[in-house]
Amino acid sequence: YQTFTGDLKWDHNDVTYRILNYSPDMDASLIDDAFARAFKVWSEVTPLKFTRLYDGTADIMISFGKADHGDPYPFDGKDGLLAHAYPPGEGIQGDAHFDDDEYWTLGSGPAIQTRYGNADGAMCHFPFLFEGTSYSTCTTEGRTDGLPWCATTADYDKDKKYGFCPSELLFTFDGNSNEAPCVFPFVFLGQKYDSCTTDGRNDGYRWCATTSNFDTDKKYGFCPNRDTAVIGGNSEGEPCQFPFTFLGTEYSSCTSEGRSDGKLWCATTSNYDTDAKWGFCPDRGYSLFLVAAHEFGHALGLDHSNIKDALMYPMYKYIKDFSLHHDDIEGIQYLYGPKTGPDPTPPEPQFTTSSPIMPTKSTPSEKTTTVSTTVHVDPAQDACQIKEFDAITEIQKELHFFKDGHYWKISNKGERKGPFLISEKWPALPAVINTAFEDQLTKKIYFFAEKQFWVYTGNEVFGPRKIEKLGLPSNLDRVDGAVQRGKGKVLLFNGENFWRLDVKSQMIDRGYPRFTDSVFGGVPIDSHDVFLYKGFFYFCRENFYWRMNARRQVDRVGYVKYDLLKC
């Protein structure tokens, strides 16, 4: 392994990152997940922890770009140079850039996550059978609205499972339109457009208006790439046109004719000889996860290795079941040391029926240490029957639902576990709590019930204390919700008002309360719970939730029961 001259490394273990923009090749949630998994590769073997920021400056700023993307090292079109990153430090140091002239996938062909339909966002399954015909790409067959779709199992005729594929007719991303679909035709600089365009931009990204007139409404979004879209060339994002004529010969599939590098290409109009519009055909693409894990190695201080099987070897190689090479582990542990201490999430207690020992409530004091006991809980209690939860919050990456002394957990994979007894894990707490949040930096968990709050650090509890001690008004009866804002700030909600708590000083910042609807327009002002989950703010009332994205736009309203609790 090699490190950079002077062993450049971060001087703290809590490293932050921020994703500045997205590639049109994959759904944003797949890209988020690929980056999160790429960081996990390194956090699993070091004391490093990675926290995602949604605004401000993070240690590692991640972005996609094409050719000259603003630093002294332009990218080079498709293939060749895939990405680069800078060693740890201020400014551009530590940042990672990905060449968006590449076709980003999970390494084995188009990674298509469906939306809507009845498959809960499952991935397309290629090939799939539909009315006896096999399809290896999304299709508009069987529809009149022209929306491409796919089956999420091998046989749509049997299973009837399907979802819609990314297309500009279904949604756009980034821009200022809240993922609204394109409107065709739209007017831009007085000209009518019937499809996405790169006109008006110099970064090569395709966009469209989400109203019929961009000149007046200024509403736009970027167009996701369809799975049949070509890559690079001079028609990025356009679908192949079959058959097409090239040098007088007709082709009804991709060809490498006319190229010395053997790459498959197609025309995006019926006649290349007259129109010269073309692009490369979708191939297996490059695994964003693998390339990101390599670049993040640079961003943490590792240089290239000459071990061919090491992650830090400079050449790309797709590996299906990836694991870090010992050369990479030795390198990163040379910089940051090995991972210390037991895994932060203690094993779950085993249920027994022999002696239902009720937990004895420890006498509340400023500082207590709790001991877990084995208790008996009725697993048949169904969370899906609960209309309104006392509190909902994310703790250690799992969404927790609290109700009357019990709680349930939803894992990242959407598995629901529980019920568990609150008193088993947090014995100092009352049965009913109003809200809770986990401080992203210290991992301490704050619980609020009525006019009191507790702070758990592992098994140790601090409290109960009066919420007045935080600087909240004495007439405040309860805290309904809490949203972590990064940099040690947490917003505490109660009806029409919210306060900003500085977790370090344990005091409410000056200038609060503020009116909830002045900042969070469009959400109910009598939410019984407010929490942050996967980067979105959730405002709950009864069994509904209003979801607000980082740009403070309500982008979804749904049922807590189905979308969050996964009933």
Binding site: E102, N234, E257, S260, W278, N306, M315
Partner: protein, 89 residues
């Protein structure tokens, strides 16, 4: 079915990857990834005959250290890779 392939090569508009010769490819590669100090004033041919730089590249990439621009080395240069230079000048 044994008709010879017509090998007519076309320059595609907007194709960032130009049909380089191996020597040009090697020149650009050795400079981009730090094997040749970009401030070196030697001419193009000097690059290829600069077997030291080629040996360094072959060592870094785990190839046979021939010091010459053999086909294996050219193929390696055409592989997709990370853009961070291998050697910092």
């Amino acid at each position: 079915w044994c008709l010879p392939l017509k090998s007519v090569y076309v320059t595609f508009p907007g194709d960032v990857i130009k049909n380089m010769t191996n020597t040009q490819l090697a020149d650009e590669y050795l400079k981009r990834y730090g094997y040749i100090d970009v401030l070196q004033k030697s001419g193009l041919q000097a690059v290829v005959s600069n077997s030291k730089a080629l040996k360094k590249l072959q060592r870094q990439l785990g190839l046979k250290e021939t010091g010459s621009l053999d086909q294996t080395t050219v193929d390696a240069m055409k592989q997709p890779r990370c853009g961070v230079p291998d050697i910092r000048n």
